[in-house]
Each structure stands twice: as C-alpha cells, then as structure tokens.
C-alpha cells in the first residue's frame, strides 16, 4: 500500500482510485501502468511522443516527470526499432511496455513481432516478457489508418498473447497481468471506449490483476449466446436490452477479454446452455476471429447447436472515413439485434 507521503507526491490524475473516484478506461490503464512502474523498477515505457507530450491520447501523461527519461523513453519514429529494442531489453531482464501511437502502425513491426519476439522462447532464446499496447478501433471517424483492429493478423502467431478489454476494471487488471506475464502480450485499447462516460467506474483501491486467458460473462441469458470483445461488448449489451424488451429474449454475452489464448471452455459452456451462437466483432469478416470460434464450437459442441452459427462483423474493406461510410462499414447495435432475432427464430 502507498504511504501517505507517497500519495502526496503522486499527481492527482493517477490518484482517482485512491480518492474513491470513478475512472474511465483510459484512466484505468494509466493507473495500472503507473502502479506497475512503481512496483517494479524493471518496468519501463517506450514509444513515440509518450514522454514530453504524454502520448497522443495522454495515457502516459506525467510519467516522464515522475520516472525520468531512462524509464519513459521517447523514441524516433521506428516501430521496428523500438519493438526490437524492447525485445533486447526484455532479454536483459527488463519489462518493457511499448506504445504504438495508433495500433494501425503495429503492421510496421509485424516481422519483429512475429518472427523475432513470438518465436524467441521456442527457439531457445528465452522468454520475451514485453507488452505492446496502443489505441485501436473505429467509431471515431479516424479513417483507414487510425481505426484498425489488427488482432486477427497476430491471432495466427503462436507465442503471442492478445488482450482486448471492454471495461475499466478489466483494463487495469489486464494491463497489470500483461506486464507481469512471462510472454509477449499485445494489449489493444479501444479508443472509442477510452473516455466514454458510461464506462466510468470506481475501482478497488488495491493491487489486483485480471487473469489473461479468462473470459467474463458480461450478461447472463438462456436463449442465445453472443461471444464478443472490446467495443462490441457494449453494442451487444445495447442489443440485448432491445431484444429483451421487444422480443422477450434472454441473451447471454461472453466478453472474451483475452483473444489469445482463447477461453474455449467459457464459449463452449455458454453454447451448451443456450444452443445458439452469434459472434460479434468489429474487425472485418474474412479471416476474423469469428471463424476460429465457430470452428472450436463445431469441434466441441456441434450436437448442442440448434441453429447455424452466425456472425456480425465489419465488411471486408479498408476502414472508410466519412460518417455514412464508416457507419455502414462497422457493426451497429441494430445489426446485432437483427442477426440475433433471425438466429432466435431459426
């Protein structure tokens, strides 16, 4: 526990939980990073504009002043460079957390992540405990290169873990778990959820982690299961309300929280309970994670299904900018309602 002196020195913007105030998802991540930096001197941050500027979304605001430039490292524009450097630091026993200014730019480091980092343990070059985090997702009119959900590009890479929280509680608990994990973790932060007032919650004023690899039942139900994650948890919850009110349907929502490793047991258990499965993801359709989930259910729960598995996703296109285009491209609450209705009536 922090002493009275410690809390006095800590700036107010990372004391919200201490003061019993609710935090946004972004503030939860910031508190998690800050507390891990305090807890473990081997934890350090790297990325573009994260120090002096505090990050494009201000996640790391105030950290340079508190922890100094050896632990809050502003880098040249170099996703390959700082991702590789993080791996090297991890080899030497550090726990680097690197920020992709927008997660779209993670593609620049694809080789370093998939060929170098993800294979290190297997090759006998040891574990690479590092976190790659960054703002992801659409609904903010960000256009093709500030809106992506590239999780599926890494979902196929053995050796990685992928985390994508939907709530402030999970975001804080999972960023801590990611930093303490012995394997490389990609940590996606949905920017539409970052400061969403509806997500503000009072977090426990204690050190807690949310285990990686465990899904959460976001809503209990009996008629239909929606397996989803990140922003789609909230769209699905809105849809579930509508379906309950207008159709009397009881919808169960499984929030995956971790995509790799996939919590197959939680998915299968819910499908065995409701016998109908709708998978919802914001990512595009072909090669999206829905395909793998459907296959797992086919392997493990085929006989329990009363209807074909369906999915609601973005269309197979780059992410467009203009509001009518982005709104058409992305899954909307009404899409989930319509797909769920069809499935319930099958």
């Amino acid at each position: 526990m922090a002493t009275a002196t410690d809390s006095k020195q800590k700036p107010d913007h990372v004391r919200l939980t201490e003061q019993g105030k609710p935090v946004t998802l972004l503030e939860a991540i910031r508190e998690g990073l800050w507390e891990e930096m305090e807890r473990d001197p081997s934890v350090f941050l790297m990325g573009e504009d994260i120090g002096v500027y505090g990050g494009a979304f201000k996640v790391t605001e105030g950290m340079l002043e508190e922890f100094g430039s050896l632990r809050v490292v502003d880098t040249p524009i170099s996703e390959i460079g700082f991702t590789g450097a993080a791996a090297g630091a991890a080899h030497m026993g550090m726990r680097p957390v690197v920020e992709m200014q927008f997660i779209d730019f993670i593609a620049c480091a694809y080789d370093m992540i998939t060929n170098y980092v993800a294979t290190s343990r297997y090759r006998g070059s040891g574990p690479v405990p590092m976190v790659i985090r960054g703002p992801s997702g659409g609904y903010v009119r960000g256009g093709p290169f500030h809106s992506q959900n590239p999780e599926a590009a890494f979902f196929h890479t053995p050796g990685l873990k992928i985390v994508y929280p939907a709530t402030a509680y999970d975001a804080k608990g999972l960023i801590k778990a990611a930093i303490r994990d012995e394997d490389p973790v990609l940590f996606f932060e949905h920017k539409w959820l970052y400061r969403r007032p509806q997500l503000r919650e009072v977090l426990p004023n204690e050190d807690y982690v949310v285990p990686i690899g465990k899904a959460r039942t976001a809503r209990e139900g009996t008629d239909l299961t929606i397996v989803t994650y990140a922003a789609m948890v909230h769209k699905s919850a809105e849809a579930a309300e509508v379906l309950e009110k207008e159709d009397g349907l009881s919808v169960e929502i499984i929030d995956l929280r971790t995509l790799l490793p996939l919590d197959e047991d939680a998915i299968v258990a819910s499908v065995k309970k409701t016998n109908r499965l709708l998978i919802v993801h914001e990512d595009t359709r072909t090669g999206g994670i829905a395909g793998e989930i459907a296959m797992r259910v086919s392997e493990k729960a085929f006989e329990w299904l009363d209807a074909p598995i369906q999915r609601v996703t973005a269309i197979d296109a780059p992410i467009p900018y203009s509001p009518p285009l982005e709104d058409y491209f992305l899954p909307q609450t009404d899409d989930i309602v319509r797909a769920a209705r069809w499935l319930a009536n099958y």
Binding site: E79, G88, N115, K300
Partner: protein, 359 residues
C-alpha cells in the same frame, strides 16, 4: 606485401596492448573456427549435418578479432554480441563451444536450441551471445535494446552486432542504428562487406561509396578496416568498444573481406569469378596473413602454431565422437515452449483411436 605486417613499429612490439598469450589465443580461435567448419563439411557430405551448412571461409579472421575486443565473461556480466550466420568465429570467441555447434548442426535433442532452430542460431545470455534470426537486420534493433538496458542500469557493458553488406539495405538496420545513435547506446555495429549477399554483389546493394559513409547519416562514429588483417580489425574493434564503454555511443566499422564459398553448401556460386576467389585464397587469406605476422615478428614459431593445429584437430575429433551418438529430439518436443503455458495441443487424429475431444 607491406600490408601484411600489422604495424610499421619495431617488429618485436605487439600492438593494441595485446600480449603473446592473447595472440596465440586468437590464433587458436581462428584456426578452430576454420577446422570446425571443415569437420562440419565432412559431416555434411556424410548427411550427418541436417539442413544447410554455411562456411565463413576467408572471413574467420574478422569474426574472431572483433569478438576478441569484447569483455568476455561467462557469468552474465560481460559484453554481448549477436552474430550472423558467418560469424562462427565470433561465437567461439565469446564462449560458444564446438560441441554445441556440432549438436546444433546435427539437430540433436541436446543441442542448445533442442532441435527447434538451426546452426549457430542459439543463445546464451550468461556468456553473452544472442542468436540471430534469418530475417536479416532484426538484431540491430534488438541489440539497441540490449545496450539501452546497459545504460538504464548504469552498467559499463557493450554490445556488438554484425550485419552484412546486404542487410544494410533493410529497414530494421536503419531503424536500429538510428535508435541506438539517438539514445547514445554503447553499441558497435560491424558491417561485414564480404562482396556478396547470396548472389547479389555489393554494387547492386548500395550506391554509397562505402558503408562507413553511412555512419555520418546517423551521427555515429565510423571506421573502415582491412577485414583480413586480424590485428588491424582487433585494433579498430577495440577502439570502438572502448568508445562505447566510455559513453561515446555507436560506432559503425566497415570490415572488408571476401566470402570464398557460396551462400551455403548447396550453392554452386557460378555467379562468382573463380579467379577472384583464387586471388583472395592465395594472397589474402586471414589465417595465412596472421601466421606470417606472428612468425615474421618473432611472436610465435611455426612449430608452436603447428602444435596448436594438431591439438585442435584431435579435440574436434573427440568432440564429434562424443556428440554423434546423441539422440534427435523426441517428437513431442515440437509442442513445448511456445509460451509459458505448457505444451500446445497435439493431433487428435494421431491418437489411437482418434479422439476428437482432444482437438
């Protein structure tokens, strides 16, 4: 030839602060490197080496001499290097053993990478070497991070990373050396210009007049050295290592040498001029030149060098005899060490009877 002597100073003075024992140790290492590769080539022809075999023939001298300039320790407190496929000499110099290398090349279960990765792609952080991966250039950013951590911890350790003429064209090289230079990391970048990137000659790799010229673009110090003059290479490497250790940041050293074989054993290297290879072999072999330097200056006798050769030959034969009976890895090893979370699932349809619940 005049350039065969390392210095124009008095013949008896050993340059660069080296002593006679160190000179002989460098000789042992470079001879061991060549002899080990020759033994591996025989094993390759006997189909006992699995996969490719990469020779560093003609460039063993610079591999040994650069690594020899590092602080070599076995307890995780020394300097760290990351080699290329043709830096067997660097690996041996920093502390990898011939037995490990032979096990690696024979894909044994008790090899350092346990049969999961090939040849000299293996790692030991205690002895200070980090195995490269085949996408070239990637280890430059990685070594930037290794040396960043030396700075973060206030350790006076140095990193050395090897890159070929070919991979200086990659984005990873650029981002890594730029990052290291901006952060003033204690990193020495050895650019080995051996004339060839697989079949691509240096002139098709860059329009720059020299690789050393590139250093200025990053604000790094630069040096260029005759890569087959072992003492000159050692001197350049040592100066760069000392600069790095003293907080002087990154140095790029261009080491000019020549690859006298194909990319790997399978490569008939018909794109190379046999006369050119012959010229390097007969008049510019790093070991021949080093021997001439040692004996010509009275630092070693032909007889004692011959004794070192004989001992190496004997020891390598013993090593190979010891390693050969080792088993290949158990197939289930393929499932392990993907993450810390235990083995990944196997094939349900290979069970007897097949059990789809194990999918």
């Amino acid at each position: 030839m005049a350039n065969r002597t390392p210095t124009k100073r008095a013949a008896a003075a050993i340059p660069h602060g080296l002593d006679r024992e160190q000179l002989l140790e460098m000789y042992r290492l470079v001879r061991l490197t060549r002899a080990l590769e020759e033994k591996l080539e025989i094993l390759f022809k006997q189909s006992k080496v699995i996969g490719g075999l990469f020779r560093s023939l003609g460039q063993e001298g610079e591999s040994v001499a650069t690594a020899f300039a590092l602080r070599r320790r076995a307890d995780g407190t020394g300097d760290v290097l990351s080699p290329l496929i043709r830096n067997l000499g660097s690996m041996i110099t920093i502390g990898a053993t011939p037995a490990e290398v032979v096990r690696q090349y024979m894909a044994k279960g008790d090899s350092p990478a346990r049969g999961k990765e090939l040849n000299i792609h293996f790692t030991d952080y205690q002895r200070g070497f980090i195995g490269q991966i085949s996408p070239l250039g990637d280890l430059v950013p990685v070594m930037a991070g290794v040396t960043l951590t030396f700075k973060q911890r206030g350790e006076d350790r140095v990193g050395m990373v090897y890159i070929g003429d070919g991979a200086t064209s990659t984005g990873a090289f650029h981002e890594g050396i730029n990052f290291a230079a901006v952060k003033q990391c204690p990193l020495v970048v050895i650019v080995e210009n051996n004339g060839w990137a697989y079949s691509t000659p240096t002139r098709m790799q860059t329009a720059a007049k020299s690789f050393a010229d590139k250093a200025a673009g990053y604000g790094a110090a630069a040096d260029r050295v005759d890569g087959n003059d072992m003492l000159a290479v050692y001197g350049a490497a040592r100066a760069a290592v000392e600069r790095a250790r003293a907080g002087g940041g990154v140095t790029l050293i261009q080491v000019d040498t020549y690859r006298r074989r194909g990319h790997a054993q399978h490569d008939a290297h018909t794109y190379m001029d046999p006369a050119e290879i012959d010229r390097w072999a007969t008049s510019n072999d790093p070991i021949d030149r080093y021997m001439a330097t040692l004996t010509g200056n009275g630092w070693a006798s032909v007889k004692e060098l011959g004794e070192i050769d004989a001992r190496i030959d004997r020891e390598l034969d013993e090593t190979i005899a010891e390693v050969e009976p080792s088993a290949l890895p158990d197939e289930q090893e393929a499932r392990t060490d993907v993450t810390a979370g235990g083995p990944v699932p196997g094939h349900w349809y290979r069970l007897d009877p097949p059990d789809p619940r194990m999918a």
